[in-house]
Amino acid sequence: MDEMAPSATDRRWSEEGYSRVPYWLYTDQDIYDREQGLIFQGPFWSYVALSAELAEPGDFKRTFIGDRSVVIVRDQDGEIRGFENRCAHRGVQFCRTHRGTAKDFMCPYHQWTYDLRGNLIGVPFRRGVKRQGGMPADFDPKNHGLRKLRTAERHGVVFASFDPAVPPLEAYLGEAMLGYFDRVFDGRKLKVLGYQRQRTPANWKLMFENIKDPYHASLLHVFLVTFGLFRADNESSVEMDATGRHAVLVSRKGEQKKTEDLSDMKSFREALQLNDPRLLDPVREFPGTATVVMQTLWPNLIVQQQSNTLAMRQLVTRGPNAFDLIWTYFAYADDEEAMVTRRLRQANLMGPAGYVSLDDSEVMEFSQVGIAQAPQASGVVEMGGHDTEDTPHMVTESAIRAFYKYYREIMGV
């Protein structure tokens, strides 16, 4: 046994509970492996697609749940199906393109063929050649289909789960989260504008925490603070579902002006002006007063509504020390051209080159390298107290605490 690896007894959570986060959570391979089993293959709904990506029967998309490659496809009856991208014969990852249209899926190695529901429908030489060889008489293709996923769709958003025991999607999200979800996904048809993909050298949980952490937004992000897009003195709230696994950060845009609370916000630049203000030309389009709602849905989705830029941010784990973020930007199918242009311009705030998001992906790398130095130390998550309740302000880390409270129940750590 590797003496340098922390043993199970070393992996103790601080007695302060979920207002501490031990650093071995972010670097330990064993924890990562257990997360794959208990979380990403557990009874939870992972985001996998927008149904607009699968418009016609046979349209498919290759994506990930945790680090497992899966294929999501619309079958001949128009139903959305999903299965693991791994041939039942010898384990070949048979689908090697982001998307396409197929009548069936054939593994290139020995040409085992599956229908759009993942059932095995073809095995070459099954009966042998010239009465020689072939599969045994008791070989039943029904027992050798692809590993199938449960799928659920709500208002154009598709989720999947490896676990047949997953509860209904609406119950899983809970009433409060469903309300915010339906605010953006109100049943209107969606249109994909394109994708961004990035690999960040940090543990996946740091990304999830980042969107449950309104404390940093007023400090790290010059752009948000200066232009009043998301700031501690704006009207804001942090809300969670009953379990604490899902959350929203809600806020209302303020003005670019000084207030007494700004003395702590060193990132505020009163003189900063955009050379081309067309970049920030938001229009109100959702009911209510919120201008930004960032929703984290356990275990792999961030729904981004910042002004008029809308995106699904899908987390793909890549070992304990890296994750990919796949951003699917969308519009509504009935948007006017000017609105689509506005969304495309505001996309400059987000993604690998985002005026805002770039700060996050860089700081998460700083976090990972710092955390890796001291697996036995812990992060302090006490802003706003020790509890996990909703707050009518953003000067809190309560949603991070709620996340870890739930995480500990699921992981048994």
């Binding site: 504008l193 961004q196 081309d276 495309l344 690998p352 790398e365």
Partner: protein, 169 residues
């Protein structure tokens, strides 16, 4: 054979190619030098367009870019981001541009296509390939006689970006 090399066409073609190659040499010098970043928008026309596209968006015709600027003003805003708005690990970027092709289009524009590779070097790490791809650009001779980018479309070979795009591509 259309587009094949012809010796007799060289003299006029040569002047164009020298000018265009000189332009890209200057582009790279400025893009790679943090102290000259403010000169970068000047390599574009006032309404110059700049887009960085992942391979898949380019292939599928999706309009979303990784970086999208529609004016010299938006390019200046990008410079401001690299010079104090954004937080990032300091890095050295190195562009290599080659296989430059140029053609005069009807409207006085010069259409160019070039391969590029961009390397990135950060603290504690050896250099790595950051991106490879193709420039699909339109240059014009501006009012002051200088060549400028009317459109600089950076089509990446990769879809997956190594974390962050801080500097011009």
């Amino acid at each position: 054979m259309d587009g094949a090399t012809q010796l007799r066409a060289l003299p006029e073609d040569l002047a164009l190619r020298v000018a265009v190659e000189d332009f890209y040499a200057r582009y790279v010098e400025i893009a790679n030098d943090p102290l000259r970043l403010e000169d970068w928008p000047e390599l574009f026309t006032e309404d110059g367009q700049y887009r960085v596209l992942p391979q898949e968006n380019w292939q599928q015709g999706w309009p979303l870019a990784l970086v999208r600027a529609e004016s010299r003003g938006m390019l200046k805003d990008r410079v401001a981001a690299a010079q104090g708005i954004n937080t990032y690990t300091p890095r050295v970027m190195r562009h290599l541009v080659s296989n430059i092709r140029c053609d005069r289009a009807g409207s006085g524009e010069i259409e160019t296509k070039a391969n590029f590779a961009v390397f990135e070097t950060m603290i504690d790490e050896p250099s790595r390939v950051f991106a490879t791809g193709v420039y699909r650009d339109r240059l014009i001779e501006d009012a002051d006689g200088l060549l400028r980018l009317q459109e600089h479309v950076v089509v990446l070979d990769n879809d997956l970006v190594p974390n962050s795009i801080v500097y011009p591509l």
